[in-house]
Symmetry: C2
DNA sequence: TAGAAAATGTGTATTACTACACGAATCTAA
DNA sequence: TTAGATTCGTGTAGTAATACACATTTTCTA
């Protein structure tokens, strides 16, 4: 089945496009399934043929975004820490409105989990590279949460510096922390 | 049945929109049903659910346009000859690319018939107003063909004067011809 | 806080659209 | 002219989307 029925593609496209517009313009909490389907010019039932509810729709879209980002990271994985972090922040910069809307809402808990999971996935590769033996879950969680916090602040425009500055500092902090943990580990 | 199935509306909209784009860009003769459905992102079969062939589609669209124009004329019917004619030409001015493409093709014969019929319908009202007794079919056909010829030349940019100038002259010519015919008629 | 209004999620029967395949018609180039 | 490709128009069986109705839940507001 390489040929997906064009009706499915059209419906999902219309729904997701309507959702994204409303997400950025009105925020996640203001969105209702009814409004989405009205904007998408699609029967309400059609929505439920594809998604469980608006949270499920959000999950789907977030996953798409993160797969995109993972793909970008994969292509440039041998660039070193700083450059890698800049690539991250460049992506969030581009989709600022989107992520900003999600951080701004209190009902997008699963989004935070997804994003945290993604950051952990990415960081684990880097840590493994520096210190392949150990799987230090404390360190991993520590750094991931720290990064998540910075990403949130950045996307919500709560940080002063430029994207490059923020990314560079975060990259350095992560790098230092890992190497510190590595020393401590090798000394015991 | 006031609620038309939204799928029908969507399909027709997509097909007509694709057709119009291709009509203006490539001309009527270059258009194939296959290309239309590809551009419209619709199954080829769907086209045939709504239209017999591309000529039928064209007929439909032309009729829509002419109904539009008839509506405009109806709203401003008490404006006198000159103003009325200017309204006509204003409409053709706005849809120049569309009508130009149709006049340029040799396989759009029915379009000419439709337009001629439309012009006759509109003129018959005016003539009736001046001379209600007579139904002079010669005069009607004569004037309609003349007008059709001018419209064609105008749309194809073969006339020098501005829209207002052309419309005014045509309006005067029609008016004079009718009144001449009226005199001749009343003298017998 | 009660009661109205709106949104939700689901079931059902119907319909428009789909992919695909086919022979016929039309176009193209050797 | 002939062979090859392309488009045409139609048939078929399957599926996505539809309108509509319903009970339930949530949200609003008086």
């Amino acid at each position: 089945m390489d040929n997906v029925d064009r009706r499915i593609i059209k419906s999902q496209k219309a729904i997701q496009s309507a959702f994204l517009t409303m997400l950025i313009e009105d925020g996640f909490d203001e969105i209702s399934v009814k409004k989405i389907t009205e904007t998408a010019d699609v029967g309400r039932k059609t929505f439920y043929l594809h998604y469980i509810d608006k949270y499920d729709l959000l999950d789907t879209i977030v996953n798409q975004r993160l797969e995109e980002l993972a793909e970008i990271c994969e292509q440039k994985k041998d660039k070193g820490f700083i450059e890698g972090t800049i690539i991250w922040f460049h992506y969030f910069e581009q989709h600022k409105a989107f992520f900003s809307a999600l951080f701004a809402s209190k009902s997008t808990v699963s989004f935070r989990d997804q994003l945290l999971g993604f950051i952990m996935d990415q960081l684990i590769k880097k840590i493994d590279k520096s210190d392949p033996e150990k799987d230090n879950e404390i360190l991993l969680k520590f750094l991931s949460m720290a990064t998540l916090g910075i990403v949130e602040s950045y996307v919500l425009n709560q940080l002063k510096g430029s994207m490059e500055l923020v990314a560079t500092e975060v990259g350095e902090l992560i790098m230092q922390t890992i190497s510190l943990a590595g020393q401590k580990n090798s000394s015991t």
